[in-house]
Subunit: 290 residues, 4 copies
């Protein structure tokens, strides 16, 4: 009888701690200093439910927003808190840190500028990742790092993981822009954007080779084919249907393992909110070393 009472008291004492322990925590307006981009950069972060009560380290997912949004996109429209908490609680995802950087302020996009004036990709690898891994209890090995993103952020996902397969265990481009399909497209795009005549053909070619997902897939070295686990998803009504379908075909022909999904829907947050649980489960499978 006394033991029972004791158990009840324990439960009452533990209740607040337990309540605390079940919810992750989101901040959407943090900053880090950047020398490369000459100023402070914003980011949002999700910390898993047990982050504060434990002292372990966690895998990290970099989750990239699309054009027109900023670091708050996945928080407000993507419901990352609710969805990640649920996925972790139900055992479909492992607790992880989710980092959502702003690629909208100042200039927009995840790539290095062709003329070297806005080196966002350099910022990402040389400043953001080190900052995160220093500031939070983040695991630092490739096998605990993943990247995902939507639309323009899907393009970032493709290019980051293709440029640095040694850094990511998994990559999940959603409704992704896939860069120029051919060199001519790159040339035409850059001219349309009013690049002046100081951009040489060689520069355009170099840029094309770093930004065309199709080009990089078709020229992937044999030993990189299994370096990254891919999960690619694009709605059947999405305007980016062509690039994603061609990348699927190219990956199949090159025998690059990848998951590919075409579900019912278009280029909308309704699509991405239903994709996120799958992304979390997929990167967790990588982190779990199935």
């Amino acid at each position: 009888m006394k033991k029972q009472l004791w158990a009840w008291m324990m439960a009452c004492i533990m209740l607040p701690a337990l309540l605390h322990a079940q919810a992750g925590k989101v901040s959407d307006n943090l900053t880090l200093p950047s020398k490369i981009l000459k100023g402070d950069r914003k980011y949002a972060i999700y910390l898993p439910p047990d982050y504060e009560s434990s002292s372990r380290s966690y895998p990290v997912l970099y989750l990239l927003h699309g054009a027109g949004d900023d670091q708050t996109g996945w928080v407000q429209f993507g419901e990352v808190l609710h969805i990640a908490d649920k996925a972790i609680r139900e055992g479909n995802a492992t607790p992880m840190i989710i980092v959502m950087p702003d690629a909208n302020t100042g200039r927009r996009g995840y790539a290095n500028d062709i003329k070297g004036e806005w080196q966002y990709e350099d910022f990402f690898f040389k400043e953001l990742i080190p900052f995160i891994e220093k500031t939070y209890r983040a695991k630092k090995e490739k096998r605990y790092r993943a990247v995902a993103g939507l639309s323009m952020g899907g393009e970032g996902t493709f290019t980051y993981a293709l440029h640095h397969p040694e850094l990511f265990a998994a990559a999940c481009p959603l409704s992704a822009a896939t860069g120029p399909l051919a060199l001519e497209d790159a040339t035409r795009w850059l001219k349309r954007r009013g690049q002046d005549s100081t951009v040489s053909d060689a520069q355009i070619k170099a840029w094309y080779e770093r930004q065309s997902v199709l080009h990089m897939v078709n020229n992937m070295p044999e030993d990189q084919k299994k370096a990254v686990r891919w999960y690619i998803d694009c709605g059947d009504d999405d305007f980016l249907f062509e690039g994603n379908s061609l990348v699927h075909i190219a990956m199949r022909k090159k025998e690059i393992p990848h998951e590919f999904r075409i579900r019912d829907g278009g280029h909308s947050w309704g699509y991405w909110r239903t994709a996120l649980p799958e992304v979390l489960a997929f990167v967790s499978a990588s982190f779990h070393q199935f």
Copy 2:
């Protein structure tokens, strides 16, 4: 050994209940100072479950009570805490701040008085909204702000969103008073209320044009027709059936997009409590940018 087992079983039994227990927070007797209304004004507020543990900003729903209630109405009769927590937990609503101001103390109503003596609407826009956005982690853009209310508060919802379509992403009048259907009604009402002879016909006309929902709908500029997402709901047994049905007809004829529902019921809290989950889902869809 057996006792330990029992404690484990207890924990396993309680765990789902605990997980279930994430709760928002309601206060129903706060105040803000008002120069316009010459004194402190009361308000109630709902903060979502993750408000305290996180540091993100949130969309805001202004939720207006009816005649005879005050800022505590939606808390006590409307069960806003239970219903909002449940909607958020089940993924049907996004976490939001819900503000419930008192429009009952001193004088009653959400409108500016015809003679300029009681400018509640001015208070709402010039003092309440800025106060909320300064005091709480509230998002400040139109696309993250909504208004809803019942009966007299439905009238407030209609008029506020019609006067300021630039400020609200969504508006949900429930069982709403819709103001005078015709100018004659306005004149008759004002006389019945004992307005003295110093109120001119021009003043009555100006008041009518700001308070008649039908008048404003019928004279809505083309470029405002899609400015606000509308969700209008009024029971088939409600005494306010006529105004709401006529507004539906007028909006359809003017091709103003809107959701309209007539469900089974009258002018009662039972009706509004079953409306609230729909309202939260509808404004969340706006905040989610579907």
Copy 3:
């Protein structure tokens, strides 16, 4: 005693599975002879699950199709078999006979023609109902007879129950056409349809007074107001929004008891299939004498 108990338990365990297996019966291509319409007329019929195994009599629902369909509409598009079986099995509807006559072959519509050449309404009351009540085990009293229908069939529902409140316990117009809103409309319609000059103003007025639901509601004798139980339903995106909303307003002002619903949707079978379970429950409540 124990054995009896055991048998009961067995029955209770098996009952849900057994109940699941009970199926009604539909025929969609039967005929009856008509002198009034000078030839055979088609009809479809639903007989409830226990019709063949029992020898009791049943209430009857006349269920009218819309313009463009025929007697097969509620069978193929409306899923009357599946929906009625389910409603009966789950106890939401009482077993009833559902009769679906063809008002599409030869000429279209449920009304008597203005010139007396095509008297469908006469056929309905003088030939169809007597035929059904003679051919099937149908109850013959008003309190066991109901009518429902969609669009043009909703108009038929309104007019039949307004012309013959002594014959129907309940009437359920869905997405109903409501006839001319004013006499001028009637005149204009009839001229547009190329009625020759032999149709007199008196004939038009008489036709208007029999076909305008608003007119009949506004002129309903006091002692008919509670003669029929009404369930009226029309989607907020339906093009027939005006007539239905005006009928609701008129019935409220005349204090004619009625249920009225505006749900989310337009003029489509998706709307009517979700209305049908409510219709079956509503007419069953009438047949049940709650």
Copy 4:
């Protein structure tokens, strides 16, 4: 004890009758005579649960097997009885007749032979469809007829609906072969198959234009673009990935409405059994006239 026995006997006696009423019926070894193919042809058929007890007519789905199977494939491997019964019982599909013809005996395939020796497509349209519509209570209009199939039967689905858009409301190719992607492929294939030199280039070209899904999609007349509702599904691990993805791209560019899915999986019955409920729901939506 005797009472118990009696209860059991009752249950055993009633069970078959009750079960009978809820279950569809499959036959997998029926035949029809064919003059075109010079002999009897086999087919399997699914009749919905209410077929025998009712006397209504039903929509028809032609469901085609793949290479290596015959008319029994969808029955044995595809579980058509269980899946269709469940879909109908749960209201996800409308009761329909499902016809599964044998395209394996004698020679294999759904197309007319290039040399006119084996005209299976002619048999399908001139003999099979008329036979089915004469033998069973089948609706005969385009809007009640659909075609679906897997692999080689997906190719049959594509070509039949592209050749005869006037005959099918919906078409659902699963993991479909899509014929030659280019004229050169057609030439190479036919030579590989040992066609002798009597086949002219003109014959090859004509055959290509009737068998290449891409060619037909790219040359579809404007007025056929919305004639058929398409549901196309092919796993991300399927070896037929290229043709299906290219057809999706071509249909998007030609603005031909279609649903397209790429789910997780390969060329296997596990994939097709999970596709079948979607196919039944999709063709039912067509039959239902949403």
